[in-house]
Amino acid sequence: MEKRVTFRGWALPLLLIAPQVAISIVFFFYPAAQAIWQSLFIPDPFGLSTQFVGLGNFEFLLSDKFYRASFGTTAIFSILVTLCSMVPALFLAVLADRLIKGSGIYRTLLIWPYAVAPAVAGVLWMFMFNTRVGVVSWYLGQFGYDWNHVLNDAEAMGLVVVASAWGRISYNFLFFLAALQSVPRSVIEAAAIDGARFWKRFFTIVLPLLSPTAFFLLVVNVVYAFFETFGVIHTITAGGPQQATTILVYKVFADGFVGQDLGSSSAQSVILLVVVGLLTVVQFKYVEKRVHY
């Protein structure tokens, strides 16, 4: 896609594009190149010199059982966050779509959590489930269930999943509602004339029409779970208990800043870079397909 009408000159456009290019080089390309470069070295224990190890950091990582466990943790975490944010959102969107009056008010109320930062969401959920003062954990205790996400792996995972999914429900709800509202009424009514009840219509007509939106949201939510949930995990569990909630992005931080292991942290960054690349390709493939509809 190109403009037919353009202005002459090349000094002005170079000047116009300079700020963005400069910022990209200084804060993006240079650090990214640094990450790749540093991933080939290990610092000595005193941090005085570094030694070239080639792909040694990668070999070490891929055979490291903690790193491999972190891959598994990330996979489980992302799948659960995606499910827990998409299913309730779809349910609420279907309800809102059925209402002619009032759906605007519900929508206004439901977009609130989107504006709440993941780290703040983490604090809110941690407060409800706090082992000493949490309301929910106290009531669970009354029913004889001893909640302790500080010690219990599965409970810790459950809590960070719910806290991460919470704000995403708003986001998914907006996209599902928009998609539902663009389903042609005539199709629905034709099915209704043929005697198809609501749920039958939903599963045979509406759901297939929603699938492009659902696939888009699937990719976006996985990307969110991978990269934007750091705040939730840092505020609620700090990666624990043991390493039960240490997802890949958290491990880059923990090894690089807390453990000061720059080589390993950089190698992890490079691996994540590849993961992001793959996810981006998937996303663009999909976007292209949509454009051709």
Binding site: M1, K3, T6, P13, L16, I17, P19, Q20, V21, I23, V26, F27, F28, F29, Y30, P31, A32, Q34, Q38, P88, F91, L92, L95, R98, L99, G102, Y106, T108, L110, I111, W112, P113, Y114, A115, A117, P118, A119, L124, F127, M128, R132, V135, W138, S170, R185, E189, A192, V220, F227, G231, H234, T235, F253, F257, L262, S265, S266, V276, T280, V287
Partner: protein
């Protein structure tokens, strides 16, 4: 939403059930915020002996005053100010550099145009979380730790806004640029008098999205603001928790959480239409 009538059943019992399910859903989703609000209006004593009340108490003024003007490490008012500068700085900075570079890419043919375009495109791919250590070193090298420029600049190195503007500029009719050229208008006059005014809605929608993006940042401010005076509110809440076995000052912390969500919620709710538009545009 447009009115949609039809023969598809939406009355009586079914409508009633739909509304009550919807209300139940809203209540469940709102519960964490409600509880935080209640906690910000009661005394510490009421919270530490569970279960805490579920209706607000009378300590609203006391807790919010304590949070805003005393805080734990630093007054929350200071953190709010820092967050505001960071969020507005990121939103305005990104919009400005993107408008200019998108204009250059769409309305000029110049050497290296394609290369620069791909350079910008590549920055779409890598979130700051992935390159934290080297980016931190760059910022430290510039002496930008604990500064607003350190908080803002690394986060405006991303291409989403440039792409959006590029796409929008492509839809501006060629006749307008042609007329401007015939009238002898310089490119920057055309930019100022035609392109920017026509992009008003897009700029506003993008501002909403970027403001929230900037306000809600956590990891980056956590790394580069070691001085409490420079903490932003979203990362500062976690710093209010004592290390070890001391009991957290829950009412003040929860008041801070509420204060941290008010600005982005206000922006989203008051500019709902723009926000939804910005969301759909910037993600697709």
């Amino acid at each position: 939403m447009s009115e949609r009538h039809g023969m598809v059943e939406r009355r009586g019992l079914s409508l009633w059930i739909t509304h009550s399910l919807m209300i139940a859903g809203v209540l469940v989703i709102f519960f964490p915020i409600w509880l935080a609000f209640v906690a910000s209006t009661v005394t510490q004593a009421e919270i530490v002996s569970p279960p805490m009340p579920v209706w607000p108490g009378d300590q609203f003024l006391a807790n919010y005053t304590a949070a805003l003007f005393a805080g734990v490490n630093v007054p929350v008012a200071t953190m709010l100010w820092n967050s505001l500068i960071m969020a507005v700085g990121i939103a305005v900075g990104k919009i400005m550099i993107s408008l200019l570079s998108a204009f250059a890419i769409v309305y000029f043919r110049f050497p290296g145009r394609t290369t620069f375009f791909w350079m910008i495109f590549l920055t779409l791919m890598l979130p700051v979380e992935v390159r934290i250590v080297p980016t931190f070193e760059v910022v430290a090298g510039f002496g930008m730790l604990n500064s607003y420029s350190g908080l803002i600049f690394p986060l405006i190195a991303s291409a989403t806004a440039t792409f959006l503007f590029r796409q929008f500029f492509m839809t501006i009719p060629d006749e307008l640029a042609e007329a401007a050229r015939v009238d002898g208008a310089r490119p920057m006059q055309f930019f100022r008098d035609v392109v920017v005014p026509m992009s008003r809605t897009n700029i506003a929608a993008l501002f909403v999205i970027l403001f929230i993006y900037g306000w809600n940042q956590y990891l980056w401010p956590l790394l580069i603001t070691t001085d409490p005076e420079m903490n932003t509110i979203v990362m500062g809440i976690k710093q209010m928790f004592p290390s070890g076995d001391d009991v957290a000052d829950w009412p003040v912390i929860m008041a801070t959480s509420i204060l941290a969500m008010i600005p982005p919620v206000l922006v989203v709710v008051s500019m709902q239409k723009l926000f939804i538009r910005g969301l759909v545009d910037s993600e697709k």
